[in-house]
């Protein structure tokens, strides 16, 4: 049982100036379920992506069964006995279920260049049936199935060949209870075969229950590896966040009254399959949190408020009665939106910091449709400095910046626009602690100026720490509401979200 199967040795990874994984060494034993926890951006997914061949390693090595792992992609990793179920969707649209399961491994069905599709489909269906997924058809194009079913198919893909090491990267948040049970069952059987599961999750009680040992990462550094049976959730939290950070990180005031003035009211907003009849009011100078599981509809709600949700019904109205039904109306009436998907929805990454910051303020910056570059540069520089973007100069492309600095550029844009209502969706996702603290400070400052913020976040601590009021969403509806209170705990919160 105590025999080592996999060892990470002094592993380092940089993204630009961000030291994402900092000299991490961990030993994984044969036949254990090993939890890997840490806040968002602590480096756990990055570490596992390197193990699975998705990212190259900057320095250090993984040793599997005494031999150094040298792999370039997931399929090579699979052949070495390492398999990963990724956080995002890992199946390919347009291919059938069977093609997805065996993608990269078709060779076993290929003879003289001809693929025996029938045999492949049969094998895939056999696996699906064994996994209790009899309602999924191997011949169907995968697009037919929803996110959860596609995750279950990924589980089949990642485990059917009995890998020596299976990485489960935050898969459970997207699964329903029965899907989770199914996953736990396979983790258990892999463990019983004497193999190893590395389990990443934000749900600490789940981690304690499902694992034998837990390693904690913070800011890319391994803090400790502990026995699961010896720790409580509070112990883990302390290790994850670090007490000294906890104090200066979030707001410290409690009981400060919030203005009664309503600046935005959302009434009976629904989006088919995403949000079901959500109503709330946002007050002047309020930080309103919206939390829940990733798929609870909160991200779509952010879009709906900004007029960016195409199938929205119900009303989003400003204090003066203006109906916010399109993005241009929203921007015109001083609503800002920072998307969770920074690179695709928020920023034009292949363009300069200057253009990104000025993009929404072009009308104000141009005189009779003529735009002067100097004026843009001045404007952009002012707001980039205000949020202290680390950059060479204002003409640097956004693509070169680290995640945290990209987010600062996105925020600077709306500061420049002087928006009164800000919808921030996961503003600190994948951002290092220092920048996180900057963003929190900025939010507090905006609150003091009387601006109102809707903070959508998957991080419970962030919501508890920053918000005057929190709505918890579940399956597209508001399932609970909390008012700022020092005694609020994560448990209260989780009880409402799952």
């Amino acid at each position: 049982m105590d025999e080592e199967i996999l060892r990470a040795e002094n592993i380092n990874k940089y993204f630009g100036i961000n030291h994402a994984v900092n000299n991490v060494s961990i030993s994984f034993k044969k036949g254990e379920v090993h939890g890997l926890i840490g806040e968002n951006g602590s480096g756990k997914s990055t570490l596992m992506s390197m193990l699975a061949g998705i990212y190259p390693i900057d320095s250090g090595k993984f040793v599997l069964g005494g031999k150094e792992l040298k792999i370039k992609n997931q399929v090579e990793a699979n052949r070495m006995g390492v398999s990963i179920i990724v956080q995002e969707i890992g199946t390919l649209s347009g291919l059938t279920v069977a093609e997805n399961i065996f993608l990269g491994n078709e060779d076993r069905f290929v003879k003289h260049g001809i693929k025996n599709t029938k045999a492949m489909v049969k094998e895939a269906q056999k696996l699906l049936d064994q996994y209790g997924l009899r309602e999924i058809s191997a011949t169907a194009v995968i697009d037919k199935y929803d996110f959860e079913a596609r995750k279950l198919i990924e589980i089949v893909k990642a485990t059917y060949f009995h890998p020596e090491v299976l990485v489960v990267d935050e898969t459970t948040t997207t699964l329903s209870q029965s899907g989770r049970e199914e996953l736990y069952k396979h983790m258990e059987s892999i463990k019983n075969e004497g193999h190893t599961v590395i389990f990443i999750s934000h749900d600490l009680s789940e981690v304690i229950k499902q694992t034998d040992r837990i390693s904690v990462l913070r800011d890319g550094v391994l803090i400790d590896t502990v026995e699961s049976k010896d720790v409580s959730e509070d112990d883990l939290k302390r290790l994850m966040v670090g007490r000294e950070l906890n104090d200066r990180y979030y707001r410290t005031d409690f009981g400060t009254p919030v203005s009664q003035e309503v600046v935005l009211s959302v009434k009976n907003v629904s989006v088919p399959k995403e949000i079901n009849n959500v109503s709330f009011e946002l007050h002047k100078g309020e930080i309103l949190g919206i939390g829940g599981l990733s798929e609870c509809g909160m991200h779509e709600l952010g879009k709906a408020v900004f007029g960016a949700s195409y199938y929205r019904s119900g009303d989003v109205a400003l204090a003066d009665g203006t109906d916010v039904d399109s993005i241009s109306t929203a921007i015109k009436h001083s609503i800002a939106y920072v998307s969770k998907d920074r690179d695709n929805e928020s920023l034009v990454v292949n363009d300069s910091i200057r253009d990104n910051i000025c993009l929404t303020s072009m009308d104000e910056l141009s005189t009779k449709n003529i735009v002067l570059k100097n004026r843009l540069s001045e404007f952009a520089k002012k707001y980039a400095d205000l949020v202290s973007v680390k950059m060479v100069d204002i003409g640097q492309f956004v693509a070169d910046l680290s995640g945290g600095n990209k987010q600062k550029v996105a925020l600077a844009r709306w500061l420049g626009k002087n928006s009164d209502i800000l919808v921030l969706d996961s503003p600190t996702r994948g951002i290092d602690v220092k920048v996180k603290a900057d963003i929190y400070a900025l939010m507090e400052e905006m609150k003091k100026q009387g601006k109102s913020i809707i903070l959508i976040s998957e991080e419970i601590l962030e919501l508890l720490g920053m918000c005057d009021r929190i709505l918890v969403m579940k399956d597209g509806t508001v399932n609970g509401e909390f008012t700022r209170n020092p005694d609020l705990t994560e448990e209260d919160f989780i009880a409402k979200m799952v």
Partner: protein, 322 residues
């Protein structure tokens, strides 16, 4: 886990799921046929005329099949026209000395080499495929001029079997089955879709993306080579092209490919390409029967294509379409 229960039993898709796309396409054929038949009962749509419409659509559909491998990946090939011109003049030239062997082998080799060149330049220089193929097509056109010294090439009447039934149909059917086979029964098919869906994930699954992009270009060139055999046999003569005059030859095969893409979700893209080309041929000939000026024909054909693709794909609101 209970492995005994019904392991390996493959669920059959329903009739509707399997044939829906083809049913829609055939309905379109019937509708267009009926409309023109009613307006011009005497000049259009007799069985023998339908057979001759089919003849031209077969030619374009063969090229459309090749282009499908490229377009599914999100790439473009605008050198098809130049490829046809060069392959056709070479077919004429070599048929004179080698007979049918020259007529068949020369365009296939020429087309395939052009495809390979397109692919290699595209992956080596990392320039958008549209620019690569437009640039190279100028070179291919010039080669056709050098090869013929600018004179019109005429295919000797002894070697025109592929210009009429049944040889043209046999060759076209071979091409269609080959394309469908590659899509369904080789890794190339799977990887083409995988790269088109998400290149990054495909790469992570060990797919050699660059290699399979070149393979797609080679296949495209190969099918255009086959198309050239049919083109020169049907048209019997070909003049070298210059100054991008071959460009207009790109679009009819491309229209068929669009049908294939639009109906991809129904699982029978090649059938969709063939029927799609037939629909376009129907439209064209319908307008000829009406005596409408060519410009009007172009307007209506273009509009009909846009309409059909829009209706069949039902684009998602707000989705980014490129």
């Amino acid at each position: 886990m209970n492995s005994e229960v019904s392991a390996g039993k493959v669920k059959k898709d329903g009739f509707k799921e399997k044939y829906m796309g083809i049913i829609i396409l055939l309905l379109l054929v019937v509708i267009f046929w009926a409309v023109f038949k009613i307006i011009t009962p005497n000049n259009f749509g007799t069985p023998s005329k339908l057979v001759s419409y089919l003849q031209t659509s077969l030619i374009y559909a063969v090229g459309g099949c090749g282009l499908y491998f490229i377009v599914v990946m999100g790439l473009w090939d605008f050198s098809i026209g130049a490829n046809i011109v060069l392959s056709s003049v070479l077919a004429c030239y070599f048929s004179e000395s080698l007979g049918y062997a020259g007529l068949i082998i020369a365009p296939i080799i020429c087309g395939t080499i052009i495809g390979f060149l397109n692919g290699i330049v595209y992956i080596k220089f990392r320039i958008p495929s549209m620019i690569v193929t437009v640039g190279l097509s100028l070179i291919y056109e010039s080669l056709s001029v050098f090869a013929t010294r600018g004179t019109e090439q005429i295919l000797s009447s002894e070697y025109r079997a592929f210009g009429s039934y049944p040889a043209n149909l046999i060759l076209a059917l071979c091409a269609f089955f080959l394309a469908a086979f590659i899509i369904k029964y080789t890794k190339v098919g799977t990887y083409t879709y995988a790269i088109g869906s998400n290149e990054y994930i495909a790469k992570n699954m060990g797919v050699n993306v660059d290699k399979y992009k070149v393979v797609a270009f080679v296949l495209c060139g190969f099918f255009v080579g086959l198309m050239s055999i049919l083109t020169i046999s049907f048209g019997t003569s070909m003049t070298a092209a210059s100054s991008m005059s071959s460009m207009s030859r790109n679009f009819t095969p491309l229209m068929g490919t669009f049908f294939g893409l639009a109906f991809k979700k129904y699982g029978k893209p090649i059938t969709a390409i063939v029927i799609g080309e037939f629909i376009i041929s129907l439209l064209f000939n319908g307008f000829v029967a009406l005596g409408a000026p060519t410009t009007i024909q172009d307007v209506v054909t273009g509009a009909a294509l846009l309409l059909i693709v829009t209706v069949t794909t039902k684009p998602v609101k707000g989705a980014v379409v490129k």
